[in-house]
């Protein structure tokens, strides 16, 4: 492997830009990154492509759009996408607003330092506390024998389950998802809030802006892209999640990942290619969300350096 040594003239000329054409001609350069690309192709790209191609094939392997149309035609599938989008959207929007509120409180509210550091630490933990245990925690809190249910009944004489309240519904799941969505928002948006420099406020005040004008014309336009970008990230985060919902409601709640789970387990649709289309629909939606995320992110980074 001595041929890739520092006697390489491209490296000797330090000021020269990376010799792109040259490195392509030297195949030895690629040995360093080959394991990564082989790994990514075999275990990330090819399996995904396999499903995407399968989504556009009929049983005999011919090209068709029927599977994609069926996603819209079959009521249960259409319903599952609607419920999934509803849960992901609401948990993302509410999580983002609540997270922004808490982040504003700890950055701008003049609270003591320990409030900020403990909130950030807790947010780091809670944003990773998802999956099966999170469902257990909420069942133990708001279930029929949960502490909050019992306290409401014994202290206030309020029977939660006599109302139309149902924890195992899409709104129940949204409340559970907020437990990791809000902290994720706090973790991402706090650095963006820190990026709003005090000088901007002083500059605006010098020019005679009121507090409201400063927020409307400086802070909100600067924060807007990172806020929207994070909403989209939270959306994708909730859309792909399955473990919490599955442990929470079993298979009674009809959301896309749970339908797909049942399909992988036992081809409940009776049509493998429709199963691929179901998976394709998920990639399509999270992919679209992430394209918007990257777009907003690049827009927001202009200001937050």
């Amino acid at each position: 492997m001595t041929d890739i040594s520092l006697s390489d003239p491209a490296m000797a000329r330090k000021t020269a830009p990376p010799a792109e054409a040259r490195s392509v001609r030297l195949p030895t350069q690629w040995i360093g990154v080959a394991p990564f690309f082989i790994f990514a192709v075999l275990f990330l790209i090819l399996p995904t492509m396999y499903l995407i191609v399968g989504a556009f094939q009929d049983r005999d392997g011919g090209f068709t759009l029927t599977n994609i149309f069926k996603l819209f035609e079959q009521p249960t599938i259409r319903q599952s996408y609607m419920v999934s989008i509803k849960i992901s959207l609401w948990s993302a929007v509410l999580g983002a607003l609540a997270g922004l509120g808490i982040a504003l409180a700890i950055v701008r509210g003049g609270l003591p330092e320990w409030v900020r550091s403990s909130t950030m630490t807790f947010s780091g933990v809670a944003s990773n506390f998802a999956g099966v245990p999170l469902a257990f925690a909420f069942l133990a809190t708001l279930g029929r024998l949960g502490l909050v249910t019992i306290l409401l009944r014994d202290l206030f004489g309020f029977n939660l389950y006599a109302t139309s309240f149902n924890l195992l519904s899409s709104w129940g799941l949204i409340a559970v998802y907020l437990y990791f969505q809000i902290p994720l928002m706090i973790v991402i948006i706090t650095p963006a809030l820190d990026g709003i420099k005090r000088e901007w406020g002083e500059a605006a005040a010098t020019l005679g802006a009121t507090n409201w004008q400063y927020w409307r014309m400086v802070v909100i336009p600067v924060l807007w892209p990172s806020f929207l970008g994070t909403v989209i990230l939270l959306f994708a985060n909730a859309f792909g999640a399955i473990a919490t919902a599955y442990a929470f409601t079993g298979s009674s709640l009809n959301i896309v990942p749970i339908s797909l789970y049942a399909q992988i387990r036992g081809d409940v649709l009776g049509d493998p290619n429709l199963g691929y289309a179901l998976a394709f629909g998920m990639i399509f939606i999270t992919g679209l969300a992430n394209i918007f995320y990257i777009w907003f992110r690049t827009r927001s980074e202009r200001w937050l350096k």
Binding site: F36, G240, I242
Partner: protein, 264 residues
């Protein structure tokens, strides 16, 4: 700014704290209720004494360790090489490492099941060992975004070029450079990526369940469907484990160098 803090800030913080702390208290209280009429740690005792808990937990810990090793093996040489020699590849590599955030885990494992079945050209799913290997691979893919970012941040703080030149002058080959020069220098970054990977892998449900492996995630799910008090105890245990991993990362961050000694 006032020192005391604005009333709305305190109110927001307080409401937020209630939403986040009440479920933890309630879960803890619930987990202590297993014996009638008194609080006890009975549910925890039952969980820890169960052989299923011990087996699945051990299994997941071993899988997590292999996942971290595979992740380090894939990510460290790549990130190093991209930084040193092929910076023009950076956007592509970064894009690929972010893909697991776009493609849900359930879709990735669906692809594995269809591609690597018994009759395929790479029949991972034909044997138990093969399925275990595939699970480790799948988890490494899930951890890729976190591992890559951690290692790349670590590499930014050291002078990769000078270290490599110095090692080469002393006659080191590439395995020595990566294993004995670069890796020790980014060890703190690698470790924080490792703890995050550990936290993700330990309770993961989707992949383990669909590959039918006896991991901790499916065990918890199964227990939740059949028991009342043990799941609450498990939720507390899982929360403490996540907390431990995050504390370790914060602790490590204090020892990480903040910037390069010499500008690159």
């Amino acid at each position: 700014m006032k020192k005391r803090g604005a009333w709305w800030a305190w109110l927001t913080f307080f409401v937020g704290a209630v939403y986040f702390i009440v479920p933890l208290i309630a879960t803890f209280e619930f987990s202590m209720r297993m014996k009638r009429g008194e609080y006890s740690f009975e549910a925890y005792r039952v969980v820890f004494a169960s052989s299923q808990f011990q087996q699945t937990f051990t299994y997941s810990v071993i899988v997590a360790i292999f996942t971290i090793l595979l992740g380090v093996f894939i990510v460290v040489p790549t990130a190093y090489w991209v930084r040193l020699r092929m910076p023009h590849l950076r956007p592509i590599v970064e894009f690929i490492t972010l893909l697991p955030l776009v493609i849900p885990a359930i879709v990735i494992v669906f692809g594995y099941i269809r591609m690597y079945g018994t009759n395929s050209w790479l029949p991972f799913l034909g044997t138990i060992t093969g399925t275990n290997v595939l699970l480790v691979i799948g988890y490494s893919v899930l951890a890729l975004p976190y591992m890559y970012r951690a290692v790349d941040t670590g590499l930014r703080t050291i002078d990769v070029k000078t270290l490599t030149e110095a090692a080469q002058i002393m006659g080191a080959g590439w395995p020595t450079i990566i294993g004995r020069v670069i890796l020790p220098n980014v060890l703190i970054a690698v470790l924080s990526g490792a703890f995050l990977t550990f936290a993700i892998v330990l309770g993961e449900f989707t992949m383990a369940s669909l590959l039918n492996r006896p991991a901790f995630g499916p065990y918890m799910q199964n227990l939740g469907a059949n028991r009342a008090y043990e799941p609450a105890a498990l939720a507390i245990i899982a929360f403490l484990l996540t907390w431990g991993c995050m504390t370790a990362i914060q602790f490590l961050a204090r020892y990480a160098p903040k910037s390069a000694n010499r500008p690159n």
